[in-house]
């Protein structure tokens, strides 16, 4: 007995020690990541914030750095993101509902789809760009348009939207669903009145985070040929366009010092858009959860 007690104590002490070590390592890793991020942001901020003014926000690109602006890229990004969301959100949520609520008998087909979705989420984005170029720009004849870009980006985020939505739908307790069925609800009514309201905050958050990835993606946009020098705003889904990452990329590759400042300012705007989207995700989630539970 006594021996065992001592043994237990020693074991507990050992555990405490390894827990402390783990805490320090994990904390250090986090600190390192945060410091690196902070340095990066501060550096960009110092380079770019003087350039952040109304003129920069409301001007088209120009050959002269001091007259250049981010307007067409910003509007192009917002436009393309809206279209992407419009395309990918309903399809992604629909697919998730289908996989979780209808295709519940696991057969080779549903397994095949599942494996493919998981794999697609890991495909490098440039491949989506090549697919978009071939399929939307050339075969469907959409040209280098906002629509072609949005379709490409929709393909890119679709697997992420589906996976996030499935996670959110799976959280809904089977007991709630059974309660609904027992009151004579059809499957669709149960999905609409019970599953979706409960899953919605999760679906929304996951999707917004997926769409915010669209904002930063440059590779597929370069592949489908979004241009950097656009001195007008897209007036239809078929007009040519540019987006922030491409504009930034273009400015960075110019020799003049002034364009370098423009690029830094462009990055700040990109970060601001990202931050606003994440804030929207958090806000919407809070709001819906409150409405559900009290």
């Amino acid at each position: 007995m006594k021996l065992e007690g001592m043994h237990l104590q020693r074991m507990l002490r050992g555990q405490k020690r390894s827990e402390r070590v783990f805490k320090i390592v994990a904390g250090g890793a986090l600190l390192f990541a945060l410091v690196a991020l902070a340095i990066l942001i501060i550096d960009v901020f110092l380079d770019g914030f003087r350039r952040l003014d109304w003129q920069f926000l409301t001007s088209f690109p120009s050959r002269k750095p001091e007259r250049a602006g981010v307007l067409s890229a910003l509007v192009g990004t917002v436009y393309m993101m809206g279209l992407t969301a419009l395309l990918a959100f309903p399809i992604g949520v629909g697919a998730a509902i289908y996989l979780e609520e209808y295709a519940r008998k696991k057969n080779w087909f549903s397994r095949l789809i599942e494996v493919n979705i998981a794999n697609l989420a890991g495909v490098p984005s440039i491949l989506y760009g090549l697919l978009g170029l071939e399929l939307f720009v050339r075969m469907m004849g959409l040209g280098r348009s906002v629509l072609a870009g949005a379709l490409t980006m929709a393909l890119l985020v679709l697997p992420i939207v589906i996976i996030a939505s499935r996670e959110a739908i799976r959280v809904v307790s089977p007991a709630i669903k059974e309660g609904s069925f027992a009151l004579g609800a059809s499957r669709w009514q149960t999905i609409w009145y019970q599953v979706l309201p409960i899953a919605f905050p999760g679906i929304l958050t996951g999707s917004i985070l997926a769409f915010s990835r669209v904002i930063g993606e440059a590779a597929p946009m370069i592949t489908i040929g979004a241009l950097a020098f656009i001195a007008f705003l897209p007036d239809s889904p078929l007009s040519p366009f540019t987006v922030l990452p491409i504009q930034i990329f273009n400015w960075v590759s110019r020799p003049q010092k002034g364009f370098f400042t423009c690029a830094a300012a462009g990055i700040l705007i990109l970060l601001a858009v990202l931050l606003m989207m994440n804030a929207a995700a958090v806000f919407l989630r809070q709001r819906y959860q409150k409405r559900l539970y009290l």
């Binding site: 307790s173 007991a175 059974e178 609904s180 004579g184 609800a185 009145y193 559900l292 009290l294």
Partner: protein, 261 residues
């Protein structure tokens, strides 16, 4: 249909179950069950955990249709009609045969919306009519006095016993003919259990009640008829006092005297 088990009194039959076999995948959960459930009486299903009690009553409102690899053979007549007949709509079955589950499962909505959920599904839109249904159902389930001032509050804020009575009220709101209760008190404390038992006892005036329980005192207290299930088989079925005082099968006797289970 013919009543398979003779009932002592001349009570109309709600359910006639004949040669019911049920499987989850390749596992047979029910074997050759034949029994009759009388109208406006309380029928208890007892038996040790895992013997198929839930499976049996979940066949009665076709809620087990929703389990992907569930399959059944045999007949279940409700008021003379086979409920698994292709011409029968499972939704109609579930509207006429309500069910309350083991763990209270209120929807994460207000108390009012929980009760109004069923009526709204069948198209009741009129506000004052819904108000009436909500009030009446909550009164029938003996919870009106406790919640009448907080109908807009979340149902999740209620206590377990209140939640279970809310679930009963929610089921009554669609005006069913039968109430299936699957161990409705097993998650509740004795006081809440007492309230629900009292409620069940009153409900038989209007409804056919089938209650699953693994609490034998409960079966003896509230039910008129009792069926004893063991490993998927119906060992014995008959009037409750006969099952508890003079069982025909030795296994029933062993179970109710607490020698196993």
């Amino acid at each position: 249909m013919s009543p398979v088990v003779e009932l002592k009194e001349e009570q109309p039959i709600a359910f006639g179950i004949q040669d019911l076999n049920a499987w989850y995948g390749s596992f047979q959960a029910l074997k050759n069950i034949s029994m009759s459930i009388p109208e406006k009486r309380i029928t208890a299903i007892i038996g040790p955990s895992g013997c198929g009690k839930s499976t049996l009553i979940r066949c009665l409102n076709r809620i087990n249709d929703l389990i992907p690899d569930f399959r059944l053979e045999g007949q279940i007549y409700f008021k003379g009609k086979e409920i698994n007949d292709p011409s029968v709509d499972p939704i109609e079955v579930r509207l006429r045969i309500g069910m309350v589950f083991q763990k209270p499962n209120p929807f994460p909505k207000s108390i009012y919306d929980n009760i109004a959920y069923g009526p709204r599904l069948i198209g009741v839109k009129n506000g004052s009519r819904l108000d009436g249904i909500v009030e009446e159902s909550l009164k029938k389930a003996a919870i009106w006095n406790e919640v009448k001032d907080s109908l807009r509050k979340s149902a999740l804020a209620l206590s377990g016993g209140q939640q279970q009575r809310l679930c009963i009220a929610r089921t009554l709101a669609v005006d069913p003919e039968v109430l299936l209760l699957d161990e409705p008190c097993s998650a509740l404390d004795p006081i809440a259990t007492g309230k629900i038992e009292e409620l069940i006892y009153r409900l038989k005036e209007e409804y056919t009640v089938a209650i699953v329980t693994h609490n034998m005192q409960q079966a003896a207290r509230v039910s008129n008829y009792t069926g004893f299930l063991l490993m998927g088989e119906l060992v014995e079925f008959g009037p409750t006092e006969k099952i508890f005082t003079n069982p025909a099968d030795s296994r029933t006797e062993e179970y109710i005297t607490g020698r196993f289970g």
